[in-house]
């Protein structure tokens, strides 16, 4: 029996939607999960890969796999954390297939960034460079916590689940990353 049977499906939690999808296999239910997380997941993969199209293809692959094998979801775990675990593994497989870290760093330079031509303020351009430089200066594990926390709004507990470590370790990595970032950015005027 669904826990949230009295509400509209759009108000259900991710876990309830997934549970229902496993039972009924309705595309409409899966579509809601896709709508909720597609963008966030694609952005995460874009930051990791520096390649927009690869991020989009990986995101599609991930959702296709979930669509085909939804029974792999453990209803006792948060859906979002599970989704990012899959994304992280997909990214690692992608890297194993030949995209090395150096190439990723090069691709980062090509990340299309805010259309500065609309608002061509040099200050904003500089600010963006600060973001890129700061992220690139971090190790992979520190980048991950910063992106999961501040680009994808995952809680520390969810991040710990994704990275398979303790919440204390996540705090420590995040704190270290912020300490490093603050040394790289200029204080606001």
């Amino acid at each position: 029996m669904m826990r949230e049977i009295n509400h509209q499906p759009s108000q259900w939690s991710d876990e309830a939607l997934m549970e229902r999808f496993v039972q009924r296999r309705k595309d409409q239910i899966f579509g809601m999960l896709y709508q909720r997380h597609n963008q966030s997941l694609a952005r995460y993969l874009w930051w990791l890969s520096g390649d927009r199209e690869a991020a989009r293809d990986l995101t599609q692959d991930i959702f296709l796999k979930i669509y085909q094998k939804p029974y792999l979801f453990d209803p006792g775990r948060p859906f979002r954390g599970w989704l990012f675990v899959i994304a992280r593994n997909a990214w690692k497989n992608y890297v194993r297939k030949g995209v090395n870290r150096k190439k990723v760093q090069e691709q980062w330079l090509q990340i299309p960034l805010p259309d500065w031509t609309i608002d061509p303020l040099e200050e904003r351009q500089e600010a963006f460079e600060q973001i890129r430089m700061a992220l690139q200066s971090l190790s992979e594990k520190h980048q991950e916590v910063v992106l999961l926390k501040y680009s994808n709004n995952l809680s520390l507990e969810e991040i710990a689940g994704v990275l398979d470590c303790s919440t204390g370790t996540v705090k420590s990595r995040l704190f270290y990353a912020l300490q490093k970032i603050k040394g790289l950015v200029h204080p606001p005027a």
């Binding site: 963008q39 952005r43 927009r52 600010a127 680009s151 370790t169 705090k171 270290y176 950015v185 204080p187």
Partner: protein
């Protein structure tokens, strides 16, 4: 305070609450973690990250109509082929097959050499074959 013991909300405040909007108690809590300048620097950096994220989302949405890897494979599989093209290919294959099957096999024994034959190259022409024109 050990880093592991930092409360989670400190990491949330730095991304969402401007330093000046923190009350005295919150500022005191932050002080164990960051100086006001550090707090503001990090917040500015996180705000810019957020701006970039919004733009990335918008650019990703612009890609939605473009074919994905999965869609490209599906498109190949479901590519519509007109019936007349299928019929033409079939006819071509059948004609080719008939041509292959209908060709006579090279038969070495169809032109046996008569051991009594006279080699013309040697200039020996049988009289019966010489005509006076």
């Amino acid at each position: 305070m050990h880093v592991h013991d930092l409360p989670e909300h400190l990491f949330d405040w730095v991304s969402s609450i401007p330093y000046d909007a923190l009350d005295a108690q919150q500022k005191e809590e932050v002080a164990a973690f960051l100086s006001p300048e550090e707090y503001m620097s990090i917040q500015q950096w996180l705000q810019t990250l957020n701006t970039v994220n919004v733009e990335m989302d918008s650019q990703m949405r612009a890609l939605e109509g473009a074919p994905t890897k999965v869609n490209r494979l599906r498109a190949i599989w479901h590519y519509p082929i007109p019936l007349y093209q299928v019929a033409a290919i079939l006819l071509l294959l059948i004609a080719g097959w008939n041509l292959m099957v209908g060709l006579p096999a090279a038969d070495q024994e169809s032109h046996p050499v008569d051991p009594r034959a006279v080699s013309i190259e040697q200039g020996f022409y049988p009289d019966s074959l010489v005509f006076e024109l």
